[in-house]
Every structure is written in C-alpha cells, then in structure tokens.
Symmetry: C2
Subunit: 154 residues, 2 copies
Amino acid sequence: MLRLSKKTDYALLAVRHLAANADRGAVSARELAETYDIPPELLAKVLQKLVRGRLLESQQGIRGGYALARAASAMSVADVIQAVDGPLMVTACSEDDHSCDQYSKCNIRDPLWRIKDRIIAALGATSVAELAMEMPAPLPLPAGVLPLQMVKRP
Amino acid sequence: MLRLSKKTDYALLAVRHLAANADRGAVSARELAETYDIPPELLAKVLQKLVRGRLLESQQGIRGGYALARAASAMSVADVIQAVDGPLMVTACSEDDHSCDQYSKCNIRDPLWRIKDRIIAALGATSVAELAMEMPAPLPLPAGVLPLQMVKRP
DNA sequence: GAGATATCCGACCGAACTAGTCCATCTTAG
DNA sequence: CTAAGATGGACTAGTTCGGTCGGATATCTC
C-alpha cells in the first residue's frame, strides 16, 4: 500500500534534525537515536547509507558524528528515500529491467510510468530545508548552554 | 521503495481488460488469468476484493463472470489500489491512527501528509478509461468471430 | 602512547508480509 | 443433474523488514 519503509522514516527524522542543528557541527548517532527513540544500531546503518549516498558526511573519532554534506535546500525528500531504499519504482519493470512475467502482455506500463514520474516529482519538490522549517527546532538551546555533547553524563 | 503490490498489478490489468471489452458482457476469471498469465486462484481473490469494493459486479453460475460496476471514466487507479490493498498511506500514522513509537517526537508528519495527498491526487487523476485508451484492445475480435467463452476447448 | 568514544561493516535472527496453492461450498445455465 | 463459474477459508514457501551482535578502524583527550 505504498508505505514508506521504517528506515526511510528514520532517515528523514535524522536528516531533518541535522538540518535544524547545522550550526552545532557533527551530531553523534547516539544523540539522534536517543532523541527519537530509535534502535541505535539500526539508525547507524541508515546513516551509513546516507553517507554512501553523499547526503551526509561523517567524522570518526571521539567528537565525531554526522552532518549534512550539502545545503538542506539542495536536498530533497526523494534524494533521502533513494539513498536508503534504492531507486524508487512503482512497477516491477522499468525502462531497462523487463523482468516481469507479464511484460509482453502488459498494457498498463506507460500510464503507470507517467504516474511514477508524478510521484517522484512530488517527492523531489519538497526539500529537507522545508521539513526543518515546519516546526521550531526540537532543542532551542538557550544562549550560554553548552551543547549536549559537551555535558558529562553520569 | 514504494512498489505497488503484485495484486494491484493484476487488478489493474483485469480492470483495464474489462474496460476495453465492456461490450462483451461478463468475462470469466479464467479468461483473464489465461490472457495475462496470472495464477487463476490468485486473480480470483483479487477480483473478489474488487467486487467487495464495488468496482466490479459479478455474475455466478455457468456463463458468469465479471464486469465493471460503473463507467471506466468514473473509476480511478487510486480506487483500484485502495480496493485491493486497503487505504494507501505513506506514513505509519494517520489522522486517526497514532500507533507509532515516534509519534510524540515526530516532526515530519505534516510535510509527509502533504506529499501523500499529492500522490493520491496523481493516482486519482488517471482513470481506468485512460488506461484502456492507451493501446488497442488486446483481442480485436474480427467481425464474425465468436467471443472466447463460446469456443470449445480441446 | 593509552584509553575512550565514535563511525564503519558484515553476519545473523525472528517476525511479518507476499505470492501462490489447495480445497470445499454455493449458484446458475443448459 | 451437471458442468462452469464465483466465493471463501486455511495453508505454505519465500522474501523482506526491523532489529541485534560482534568486531574493526579512526581520532580525540589525557
């Protein structure tokens, strides 16, 4: 029923968070996972895919973490989905992949491909920056308060 | 990755076929299954869902079969998908269903719901009649030739 | 240099869903 | 009555998805 995968949900939450907190530098996977109640290892996998998709940049080491690889306004929801879940397709077949038992007899391909293009357009029209604009930043961080990563944990 | 289910594919093929052959009266599930190489029992289930969704009308008994319940132009691709796969949703949550671990902390709901509306609009804008127009009918049936269901099989 | 804190990467597991099958029943034309 | 058709439920095999585990590597702090 056309549902987005959970990994995509997590990816969008994370990317939105990074966009809203771009000024704070790298954000660790652990902080993201705790903020949104996501299994840390699973989120880590998603973030790695986003790195491989050139949407995020990672920094290893003790103060490492993730940050957007480019401006949030130049990153669409479609980009995030494709980085996590692979190329988004509505039908089993595509221009180059004809692996479908009904391919030769199928006569609904073309209209469905047109629909797919419209869906991709809808997903491409919304940028991550728009997601981040939607609500106030979840951690307003009043002036003078150290960012989370500087605070000693018990 | 936003893929349509196979059942939906079959439903669209069937509905398109019925629209293109509306003048021939009821078409049996077997004929549809053979025409498009679909497992008959599976197609039967899909057709039943379409009947329950008031998109098709069925006639039982020998010489029975399926026909569109209303004009093909008044039946959208979205209607077919929803009848087969249930209400189409992009996110796990909706206006009434908040069953999602991240619901309280989620801040990407609203933009995603807007995207969902645009997808539904894209699916709703294409009618079954347009699908049927796309190509010549798969069985042109030259004048004088009896329809398939009248032909004796060996 | 040592240790702590990160990312990175591959293998693995269980649950859920999907596609497909089988079978038994009911309905109707001939 | 019988054959052809729809209807409906239970069942299975395969795949995907969400989640977990263990270890390797990089880098900062002390």
